[in-house]
Amino acid sequence: MTEPHMTVPPVKPRGIGARLSRAEDQKLLTGHGEYVADVRLPGELHMAVARSTMPHARIVSIDTDAARVATGVHAVWTAADVTPVCAGMEGALAVEGCVPTVMPILADGVARYVGEAIAVAVADTRAAAEDACDLVLVEYDPLPAVTDPIAALAGGPRANDTLEDNVALRGGKTYGDVEAAFARADRVVEAVYQTGRLAPAPIECRGCVARHSWSTGELKLWTSTQVPHLVGYLVSLYLGFPEHLVEVLTPDTGGGFGLKAHVYPEELLVCLLARELDQPVKWVEDRREQLLASIHAHEQIVRIAYALDADARIIAQRVEALGDGGAYHSVPWSMAVEPWCTAVMNAHGVYDIPEFEYTYEAAATNKSPIGAYRGVGYMANSLVHEALADEAARELGLDPFEFRRRNVVESFPYSNPQSITYEEGSWAESIDELERLVDHAAFRERQTRLREQGRYVGLGISIFVESSGESTETSQAFGLADTYYDTATVRMEPQGKVTVTTGLTTQGQGNRITMAQVASDALGVPVEDITVRCGESTKYAYGSGTIGSRAAVVAGGAVLRSANVIATKLKRVASTMLEASELDIVLDGGKAMVAGMPSRFVELGDVATAIYFDSSFRTDGFEPELEVTMNYDPARPIFSNGAHAFIVEVDVETGLVHVEHAFAVEDCGTMINPAVVEGQIRGGMTQGLGCALFEELIYDESGQILTTTFADYLLPSMDVVPRFSFRHIETPSSHSPAGIKGMGESGLIASPGAMLNAVNDALSPLSVTLRRLPLTPERILAALDSAKRSVAE
């Protein structure tokens, strides 16, 4: 059922589609951005966190005596101070088989991963607070550390004794007679792929500052987050601050990528401490803490099998997705955000697979909790579908484009076995477009020529569909009980300038310019006369979070709906001023004009002034407000799609992968701003390149983490990231605002599969097939070595 809040008015794209620069750039380029660490409050104190050095241990005692009396220290807290107020935050995804856990604010009696917060010290300076943490003495009684997720699911010691066993998530479903399909298959291809444990690693770490006033009861919390309203809600719910007195402020934010889409213990602690100490309390995470104890992501072991008929068509599929979840469910996304999303969302990739079954499970382990990172489980989903497609093609002697053409969904609307309807898309077209973009035939000639010289270049492709514009209807369609609520306020000021406020934050995506472009087209006001505030205070428009490739769609819809109400009022008053019919009034370029008669116009500023200050227009039931807040929640799931590729050369002596070029075909419907779209793709594909080649958080068998600096956890740098080529296809959504679709995550969803395929294509003459990311030189050399030995035998 389509309700009014799911319906957007039509808009004629004018500013939508333009490559416009962002208003905030001048501030950010001259050092005038204000990120959370730059927020300075009079009298602010600094919090530091003492963290567990043990993967799993009973906490016998915590001696804070020396820390409490150290110079400049105002407070040292442990669980004893916090648990009576809040026993912890419950985490679970509302899906079948997800067992909730409670993440304590400070470890209470048991430490369950290295880096878990055990105590906090508050002092005059950050240095003094860190010194005080060094003086906190914790006596541990070690417990067995659970580090292998497969063994953990089978039984043995528990990673978290509040669970019955280590199974924190388990479920599955079958659509059709999969067993029979596999039995009649001409051929079955099957493989197990493994992705590394990743850190989203925004360059700005997390941070928060709280100020509480006993005289008014007001709490202000500045935090580097993608979900300010959720933070405020949980601060109120868990800590008892009355919600009307809680304001969460989101200053400039230095990247998020999902890491900042969670609620963390530190955000609750600074609020409690600011109230207790009656002074503002600030905490700014350092990189080591982030790699230790902010969420980890993307690690999975996924088995996938295709049953193929004699024409190389996939007639059935099995997927078993297994996650290494860490000690608790992250709040709110939980460890299910990996294996559940992999198995359930776009379960068949881009392929028309009539029958399939899946299982998903996640183990509790003594590691940092798994959370959401760009692409969540969609990345592993895309990786396994696309990698197995290449393996099947190689086995059948088909080229990878041809194998995909035989299997891709071609006609829309497509209703899949889960009864999800994909209304439109350019899935097949994107394969053809990518083949042209990479110049496939020329590449194969070059590949053959270079192989004769002992050089190994490879082309890897990855075709994707991305669930975008995350909404209540999307969630419910996939059996997830999430509800989304997002508003935007549009206000025309008395001189005709416009302030737009969305509930969705921005962390660099450019939402201010894209929302200005949407509002500009709806109101006929030039972009430079519009200012956009993105989730900067929870006291204004409401937002469910800048997550799930939803901001452009959802904020765009709310802005468009609100702006449309104002446009209607402007037309009505302008029609009186111009003595014309309302139906003939057009808003454009800051003017209201009579259609077809450009000389008959009135400035929108004059119309706004009249509505604010001229009472003669307040007749006949006219409601004079030029400030409107409306909700938007898409009526149905929205899917963008596209195709990515890399060309690489593998040095078989060193195992190093040189990435020559990246290619992206993207269809996110109507593009609001191509510069922003391409920026999202480049950034996401670069993260995918890092995921495939470099990045891995490593725990040893005892549960100690070995990668706590950027010298150990390697982000792609400028000298290893290639140039990009783009092709845009625009297949608008029939029901989203202006036909736009979200695309923030696709870069990291599809590109790791493209990279794995590129390396395997390069090494195919050497009988090497790699299946575990990242493709480090060690792993590549080991695979080459074992292939050589098996040939020798």
Partner: protein, 162 residues
Amino acid sequence: LSVPLDAVAVEITVNGIVYRRTVDARTTLADFVRDELLLTGTKLGCEHGVCGACTVLVDSASARSCITLAAQVEGRSVTTVEGLSNAREMNALQASFREHHGLQCGFCTAGFLVTATELLDAGGPIDEELIRNRLSGNLCRCTGYETIVDSVAAVAGVRKDG
């Protein structure tokens, strides 16, 4: 474990202004400019000298201010992002970053601008390979770098496919 507070008097020129301060000996240059001078344009991304977000110029050579002590630059001249452009106007490099969408979240940007300034001011021939080499010590998680390369190349007069 307690750390003695060793006070050190320093005189440091920052963006052309001479500052005399007494600081704790362990104060980093980054904390000095951010906390003492309130020049918060210099960002801390890793605090162990890898990401490059905190890069400043010390006597026109780039330096990681997170692993440089304020006391080490006694008597020297420091330029931060706030000192790159004249009052109330972006310089050509900053304008080029805006034009080429060479930034997204903006948190790494000061470090890139400072490192690129060192490269451009050195005055030698510049091509894309040199830009990528010299700026490879600055990490960006948003852009995928191509637009940063283009931003710097445009100011250096490098042809796009040159």
